[in-house]
Symmetry: C2
Subunit: 200 residues, 2 copies
């Protein structure tokens, strides 16, 4: 028996397609399914189908939503004059966790990466522009990730938003709180220096 | 939006039930499903149900199998005089990878752990005894894991097999090949010393 039996092999391969799941982990997870109860396997299988079927993009901000509008876009208490532009819905969750941002979001659905075929038309940029054209937005905070792709996207958006004559900002770069200068990479330190603030 | 939307939350919780999957990983995996294609979600969901439905225990050795007998038990070329007793089907796969064991297996389905309610009647020990009673087995190799539970199971089985008057062996303990003495724990070193072999 060189290989796993077919249905197990197939399940292992499905687990391997998940991000960050390597061969050994996929085997462990697949075994836990086949050695677990049928009820658990059914609940898991159903949760996957249900989530995929019921979750769609919010028609305004493209955040994940179980209804036409996501909970943020349908909340009348949020400040509609500010839009925080992020790469994906996970970034929305991260921002929401800090609990002091009360504005809106716009989820791009990724970051520009021409090498991987992610060109501006693949992101929800058109939707952002139409929101800006038809609403009372006064500030766009670009909160794409601090990666090459995120930076490229931020510059691209900044240029694109120029004609709207609204405030366009970018999240600050610097040393992370609780971090250690010794372990900070050079680029971060450089950004922390050039973005230094006055104390006195 | 303090929490994730319901179907996403449910999927995250299903992922969290998998062994070794923590909160952040569960979120990452669940997002990859809802942001992926419907085809992928369906294939994954179906692989889970199919694996669970089609895989059962081999009627002889209790190894995972897609048919009445597992590929090993149905292979006429395997040596039926030796049975290697392991805790689970993953150990069978590990042993098969070394490619030089040509005997049979017996999968216990766990290791004794009275604290966790795993008593002898919860393991496939009865099935092992009936195999021994009715076949030409000459050696039982106990290959339970080198843990407290695995050791307990090994001693329990050794006592239980005494009346059969067959050879009962245990996998050797020692320093792992490619390991470093400096990093070996004391118990392993102690076992390596007491199990030392003659060179001259």
């Amino acid at each position: 028996m060189a290989d796993y039996i077919a249905p197990l092999q197939r399940l292992i391969e499905e687990f391997r397609k998940l991000p960050g799941i390597g061969g050994k982990t996929a085997v462990r997870l697949a075994f836990s399914i086949v050695t677990g109860t049928s009820e658990r396997a059914e609940a898991f299988s159903d949760a996957i189908l249900t989530a995929k079927r019921e979750i769609r993009a919010c028609s305004v901000c493209c955040n994940l939503s179980a209804s036409e509008l996501c909970p943020i876009c349908s909340d009348p208490d949020r400040d509609r004059s500010t839009i925080c532009v992020v790469e994906d819905a996970r970034a929305v969750m991260a921002m929401e966790r800090i609990r002091d941002y009360k504005g809106m979001y716009h989820v791009l659905g990724g970051a520009l990466s021409p090498m991987n075929g992610i060109t501006p038309d693949r992101l929800h940029i058109k939707e952002l522009l139409s929101r800006l054209a038809s609403s009372e937005v006064r500030e766009v905070i670009i909160a794409t990730n601090p990666t090459v792709e995120g930076e490229t996207t931020a510059s691209y958006l900044a240029r694109l938003l120029e004609p709207f004559e609204i405030k366009v900002t970018r999240l600050a770069y610097g040393i992370p709180v609780g971090g250690d200068l010794e372990y900070a990479d050079e680029v971060t330190l450089h950004r922390a220096m050039s973005g230094r603030t006055n104390l006195l």
